[in-house]
């Protein structure tokens, strides 16, 4: 059975600096997988490699068994992978509703049409309203995305990511900068919208990680030093050493 | 044979002039992210100021005074114009410099009229430098090359060997860090913009009398400079250098060739060649010869 997302011996260097040093990972369909690690470990770079933003120096990436190495971001997205961004990356001059609608248009097959009236597209409308309600922004439907609060923008960020119906979702620090309540809401939201899909999540908040993840990978200096269930990771000596106590403190409060 | 030699030398001297212009543009673009549409207008101002000064005082003082005047104008433009527009983004900055180019051209019309002015090569530089197999090579062309090379070498030295040069290089990629270290980055920007303007002005001083000094000169050379910057690769000085020499030689040769293809002589087609080159490059190598920075 094909893994939903598979990385085979992925390497990435910028000039002479090696950022990703032989990462291999196989994530089965439907799993919620978290990637944790200290700052500078290369987590964002890994995401950029998977989503096609940067080219690989070596190795392969497979999506649902298909080789997507070297494909452009929009090609990868069309094959069923969608990602969010650590720094909020939305269409700031469009309304919330329009943001989400832009994210559904391709998946509904409308492509580059200039003969459909977008206001009359019932399926786009329904899907967008549905997503808006799930992310809790239905009341802010006509607000310009640039005018939302930070937490609302993060929610919109997630909304745009899942609206297209991708089967593999990559979330990059979705709860960054959120308060405790906002984080709790975000976790619930993520749990709901990724039901039945494959989720890969980069996170620093250990509470979130242990709450959501089926399995965890630990990335340190561009290498995966451990992969396993939360319990296994918690008791892994190498991981403890890499984090040096941080894990203990976070886990105690989780 | 002598034709090829003379034309190559001409092409190189023209190419060096183009590089003086495109390097100033590239430096300002690399540092501040703003493409100065009015860069060729500073070139024109340099020529006109040099004309005015050389008529009243002499050519040699003009060589110093004119670029300084243009630099002053450049600094004023940066301080009172670009700084205000900066917060609206790169498009607004480009549009500001676009409007500025309009305005400078009209101001030149206003003050010096619509016809070309008699900006002449000074008599001591007028004449043959050497003879090659029966053809002469003018002193002034040699002088142009000398000035270009001297200026460019000094800038390279200034950027890499002096303290202010290092600050500029650092501010190229990390302006906030440089400011946090206590350097007055806005002042650095103002100086760099003024420096770019001075470079363009100097090019105008030496180019204005070799070619023609008239209100249309900015609009004539401006697009060529932009083509050079695109062909060389945005933000790359090496690319601008290669592209300048390439286009300088291509244009110089083309203008003097009378072969015809399909009823159109190459000399007639000369104005189109740089743009054709750009289009071809875009199809096959969109990043330019040595592109580093996207606009």
């Amino acid at each position: 059975m094909n893994a939903a997302l598979e990385l085979r011996d992925v390497h990435k260097s910028f000039g002479t600096t090696k950022i990703i040093n032989g990462v291999s990972l196989a994530i089965p369909a439907g799993e919620r997988h978290a990637i944790i690690g200290p700052n500078g470990a290369g987590k964002s770079t890994l995401y950029n490699l998977i989503s096609g933003r940067y080219p690989l120096s070596a190795g392969q990436i497979l999506l649902n068994g298909e080789d997507i190495t070297g494909l452009k971001p929009y090609e990868i997205n069309r094959k069923g992978l969608s990602r969010s961004f650590q720094v909020t990356n939305i269409f700031h001059r469009l309304s919330v509703y329009e943001n989400i609608r832009c994210a559904v248009l391709w998946s509904l097959g409308y492509r580059y049409s200039f003969w459909h009236r977008v206001g009359g597209l019932r399926d786009a409308q329904r899907r967008s309203v549905d997503v808006m309600e799930r992310i809790g922004l239905a009341r802010r439907r006509d607000t310009l995305a640039g005018e939302l609060t930070y937490a609302e923008q993060r929610a919109l960020e997630i909304g745009i990511t899942i609206a297209g119906g991708a089967s593999v979702i990559l979330l990059d620090e979705p709860t960054a900068g959120m308060s405790r309540t906002e984080t709790a809401n975000a976790v619930e939201l993520i749990r709901q919208v990724t039901e039945g899909r494959t989720l890969v999540m980069v996170e620093h908040d250990m509470g979130v990680v242990f709450n959501l993840a089926d399995r965890i990978s630990v990335l340190v200096y561009g290498e995966v030093i451990a992969t396993g269930t939360p319990a296994a990771i918690r008791s892994n000596a190498a991981v403890q050493e890499a984090y040096l106590g941080t894990l203990h403190k976070e886990v105690a409060s989780a | 044979m002598e034709f090829v030699l003379v034309q190559t030398l001409n092409g190189i001297s023209y190419g060096l002039l183009l590089f003086m212009l495109s390097s100033g543009l590239t430096l300002v673009f690399s540092l501040m992210g703003v493409l100065n549409f009015a860069h060729a207008s500073f070139y024109m101002l340099g020529a006109y100021f040099a004309y005015q000064v050389s008529v009243k005082i002499g050519f040699w003082p003009a060589l110093v005074i004119a670029p300084l005047l243009v630099a002053a104008i450049g600094m004023l433009v940066e301080r009172w114009g670009l700084r205000t527009v900066h917060k609206y983004g790169h498009v607004a900055e480009l549009l500001f410099t676009f409007g500025l180019a309009y305005l400078i051209e009209e101001a030149v019309h206003l003050i010096w009229g619509r016809l070309a002015v008699e900006y002449r090569v000074p008599p001591e530089l007028d004449g043959p430098l050497f003879h090659i197999m029966g053809s002469q090579y003018p002193i002034y062309r040699g002088f142009m090359m000398l000035v270009s090379v001297t200026m460019l070498v000094s800038i390279w030295l200034a950027l890499t060997r002096t303290r202010i040069g290092l600050v500029i290089q650092a501010a190229l990629t990390h302006p906030q860090t440089v400011e946090a270290l206590g350097h007055n980055v806005p002042r650095v920007f103002m100086l760099v913009f003024g420096g770019g303007a001075a470079l363009a002005g100097l090019a105008g001083v030496i180019g204005g009398n070799a070619f023609v000094t008239e209100p249309g000169m900015a609009a004539a050379v401006g697009p060529i400079i932009f083509v050079i910057v695109v062909v060389g690769g945005m933000g790359s000085l090496a690319g601008a250098f290669i592209a300048s020499l390439l286009i300088g030689c291509v244009q110089t040769f083309a203008v003097s060739l009378d072969w015809a293809i399909g009823g159109i002589s190459i000399a007639q087609a000369a104005p189109v060649l740089p743009y054709l080159l750009m289009v071809l490059l875009l199809i096959f190598r969109p990043k330019g010869l040595m592109g580093t920075r996207e606009g």
Binding site: S51, F91, R93, V118 | L94, E106
Partner: protein, 419 residues
């Protein structure tokens, strides 16, 4: 900015526009006003097509006249064919020829130019524009050299009895196409492509990550924009009955850029306002003073510095204040600022006109400005105008602060009311 009032409001707006287009010549019946309005109609289409690139797609182009100009050239050749009886095309359909020509060239050049974005795209568009302009002087067969290609619009069979000879008939033809194009371009903003063009403008990277090839979006947007530019070119050909290299020149490209910008790039109706103001500047003002291009350039620069959203943004900013019935509080500050600006302007005009007169070799240096005659070589007028300019600017600074303070106060109280 959203431009979505109730649908009823939209019907009212479009009907009102149609009404204005129909009734205008009846109200302003002087013949020079008629030609002015005809040119405005053509420019509106051109500017709206330009804003499909800039305002909708975030693409700054310095070479848009290529598409309108080539559309004009193909139209003029088609029209001459009609005149020779070789092509039975009724005149009202000529703009379609221009449009299709524009579309064809949009596809041809657009394929190359949209490979890059941002500032690079702007420079490439300039380069392509210069290239076409240089070609236009090189190929006299198609482009007619310096003199251009002239034509006669009263050819072939009259269309429903209308010959399109008289200016009023040309106006109504232009007005018809203007309305059709306005509606079509507005409808395009409401399509998936139109929406994605906006998305690509706002965040090209994100647009890629929702499945769209941004280069393809920009390419299609350019091709469609070139179609409408071609339509405007054809109408220009019908109106002036001549097409020359000037139609593809950098001056034309710069002109539509200026017109669109001063009208207001972020709003759909901005270019409409901008086209009207621009034609007024170019046609009407140029009759009064030789320095009109200087004034236009200055106006453009001031807009870039202080009102980058154009005239449309200034109008729209007043609407919340008007709705809150507090516009009355702004009348005095605005009046004072306007007065100060007029004073400064008077000083500026005086000096500019004097310099122009002096720079003209052998011209009479005695000129009349605002009804006063004086010699430009004498010193007193210089001092007088300079003083007026300085005084006006100083007064303007104070007035601007007054406006600013009043505006901030109103905004604050509006926001605290809304909170």
């Amino acid at each position: 900015m959203r431009y979505q009032p109730l649908n009823l409001g939209r019907w009212v707006l479009w009907s009102a526009t149609a009404l204005v287009l129909l009734a205008a010549p009846q109200i302003f019946s002087a013949s020079f006003v008629l030609t002015l309005m005809t040119q405005m109609g053509t420019m509106i289409i051109f500017a709206l097509s330009y804003n499909m690139l800039l305002g909708q797609g975030g693409m700054l182009s310095f070479g848009h006249a290529v598409y309108s100009g080539l559309g004009a050239y193909l139209s003029v050749h088609a029209l001459n064919l009609v005149g020779h009886g070789a092509f039975p095309l009724p005149l009202p359909l000529l703009p379609l020829v221009g449009g299709l020509a524009g579309l064809a060239f949009g596809i041809l050049f657009g394929y190359v130019t949209t490979r890059r974005a941002g500032t690079t795209f702007a420079l490439i568009s300039l380069g392509v524009g210069e290239m076409v302009f240089a070609c236009s002087l090189m190929l006299p067969g198609f482009f007619g050299g310096e003199a251009g290609i002239s034509t006669n619009r009263v050819v072939g069979q009259p269309f429903l009895g209308i010959s399109f000879g008289p200016a009023i008939q040309v106006y109504y033809l232009v007005a018809f196409w203007c309305f059709v194009c306005m509606a079509a371009m507005f409808a395009l903003t409401q399509t998936p492509l139109g929406r994605m063009a906006n998305a690509v403008r706002d965040n090209p990277e994100r647009a890629e990550f929702v499945g769209y090839n941004t280069q393809h979006v920009r390419f299609l947007q350019l091709a469609l924009s070139a179609f409408f530019a071609g339509v405007s070119g054809a109408l220009s050909c019908i109106n002036f009955e001549i097409v020359s290299a000037e139609n593809v020149s950098a001056i034309r490209s710069g002109g539509v850029l200026v017109a669109t910008f001063i009208g207001g790039v972020p709003f759909f109706f901005g270019p409409i306002v901008g086209a009207v103001v621009y034609i007024f500047f170019v046609v009407a003002l140029s009759g009064f003073t030789k320095a009109w291009l200087l004034y236009l350039g200055l106006f453009f620069l001031l807009m870039v510095l202080y009102a980058p959203g154009g005239i449309a943004s200034i109008i729209l900013m007043q609407i919340p204040v008007i709705r809150a019935r507090r516009f009355g509080e702004l009348l005095l500050p605005y009046a004072l600022a306007a007065a100060a600006a007029l004073v400064a302007l008077a000083g500026l005009i005086g000096m500019v006109e004097m310099v122009y007169r002096l720079s003209e070799q052998g011209a009479n240096t005695v000129l009349t400005v605002f009804g006063l005659s004086f010699d430009a070589r004498a010193t007193p007028p210089w001092i007088a105008f300079a003083a007026v300019l300085v005084a006006g600017l100083a007064a303007l600074r104070h007035a601007a602060r007054f406006v600013s303070a009043r505006w901030d106060a109103i905004q604050q109280s509006l926001q605290s009311r809304a909170a």
